[in-house]
Amino acid sequence: MSAGPETGSYAALFDASPTTTKLVTLGNLSRVGARPPLGQYVRLLWARRHFLWADARAKVASGTRQSLLGKAWLVLNPLIDGAVYYLVFGLLMKNERSVDNFIGYLLIGVFLFQFTTQSINGGARSVQSGKNLIRAFTFPRAALPISVVLRNLLNLGPTLVTLAALIYLVPPAEEYTWRIALVAGALALQVMFTTGLSLLVARWAAALPDITNLIGMTMRVWLYASAVFFSFDHLLANNPELKVWLEANPMFIVLDIVRDCVLYATTPDPMRWVVLGGWAVGTLVIGFVVFWRAEESYGR
């Protein structure tokens, strides 16, 4: 630019412009991009459900489209994972002896925990990776982390079908009882809990991207603390304090309920449901409100 020594003259001109004051009646004008009240925010989100659904389906489809086997990978991936874990923890580490139907125990743990891990990792990155959407459309930003959970839920569908077939077919085969219906309830609570947590980490990671690095580590610690690969039963016998901690861990409760229903034909302890329900509702409400409060900051 032709910024010369007369810099001062520009400043004077700016200072000096005669001003006209436009009086605008507020009437039906409202601030653009303002955060709507919570109730309306939920309604807006509900109005976008068709987009959320279409987007999640599109992303699941595009994740497999490039490969030769395509959608078969939705079933093959969990199968291979299960085989690897069985090899390591069942055969090499001889964990099998301490747990009834170890392969069923292991597969339930791995697949259900994987859903939460992937949702939280994806949720943390959702605001960053949704930047193009944020810059192009006006919509409640909570749609981004929720869409990640939805996508993982769609991926979980085929995985669960595979899981059910494996448990039924691979010896020791389990007979299904009426308790299988309770699994749906436990999964619903898990999805609520995971959604809340995804919203929470989405806001944190949007404010400080460094957090995504810590989430991977946290999830690993949590994985080991949730009795996914091995039972804590022998440890708990003489350590009541650990038992309290373990039984407050929502992910452990989910796995425990599902294993009881599917593998051991036991009706889960009502206390388990109460604790898990508390976690699910509490986390979802807190996560949603926390995310909503920073609504206007996500566009940056």
Partner: protein, 366 residues
Amino acid sequence: MAADLDYPMPPTAQSAQRPLTGAIPMSVQAPPYTGQLAAVRPRSGSTPVLWPTVAVQGLRMFYRTPSTDTSHGRRAKMKRAVLNVMGQEPKVTVRALTDISFVANSGEQIGLVGQNGSGKSTLLRIIAGLEKPTKGQVLAESTPVLIGVNAALVPDLPGEENVRLGCLAMGLSPAEAQAAIPDVIELAGLGKSIYLPMRTYSSGMAARLRFAIATAARPHILLIDEALATGDAAFKERSEARMTKLREQAGTVFLVSHAAQTIEESCTRAIWLHHGRLVLDGEAQDVAVRYRKWAWAFAKDKPEEAKRILEEAFAERRETQVRFDVPEPPRGRVRERHARPTGRDAKQARAAAERAAAIRAERSDL
């Protein structure tokens, strides 16, 4: 953007002279985006009644961004060393927009002109509510919709599916999206390619599809960012026809274009931005002609003449202050905020006016 930083900035302290640009009380804000596009108002025959649709008040957008320009940020050696180890480059403030205020009315078609990096697109994004300004606010009658070339699309999905997804993303219902699809596909005019995955498209084809999708919404406040520049000659004509139709339906249109001629032909009013500042806001023809003269002088390496044109425009500008008239504060809890200028403010304003008059007199002597 480095060039922007060299631009002389007037002292920011002057903003203190504007007591009128206070934020409006939270309690009187109408609900923000409704997710739905406002119904198109019936055109009132021969006597158009003007009402404000968009009010932009004291808008400012500053970015903190890393810069490799060594002339900036002379900081302590230690601090620089620490930041270097962490991989952080020295940061500078980029002033993308400084103190922009104006009111747009129904029926107005407003062109935004200015060189690259002058803040036109930033301004549109802020009006659309897609970016949050550092300071100031934008009020609008209904959700403004930005039609750019940045609609998010899924590369693995066929064009047809992307049309549906794009429509849903804009807030159309599935039925509305279904109804809009044939129209969008026809406008894009990609033939059989519409059934192929987006990743097989050339950039021109993808841009055409994005543009066509964006026109599926029929917003009342329409923001267009260089959309007309995409596509080949045949598409250009079709898209221009569509734009004309959209503009007729919309209440207020903002149009960013490098071609000052487009602005002259299709706008009623124009705003000239230069390095994030509002140079001139006025009748489209007048502003566009001045901008063209300036651009010509600038391109022909006549900095003196360019500077003269710019200064003249600055001098003639009438700065707008936007003030909101709150009909009745609910329950009397809200304090009256449009205070009159204090004596000190008035004195400062008078002094500034005298300085400007002196400069103008000096120039007319030459």
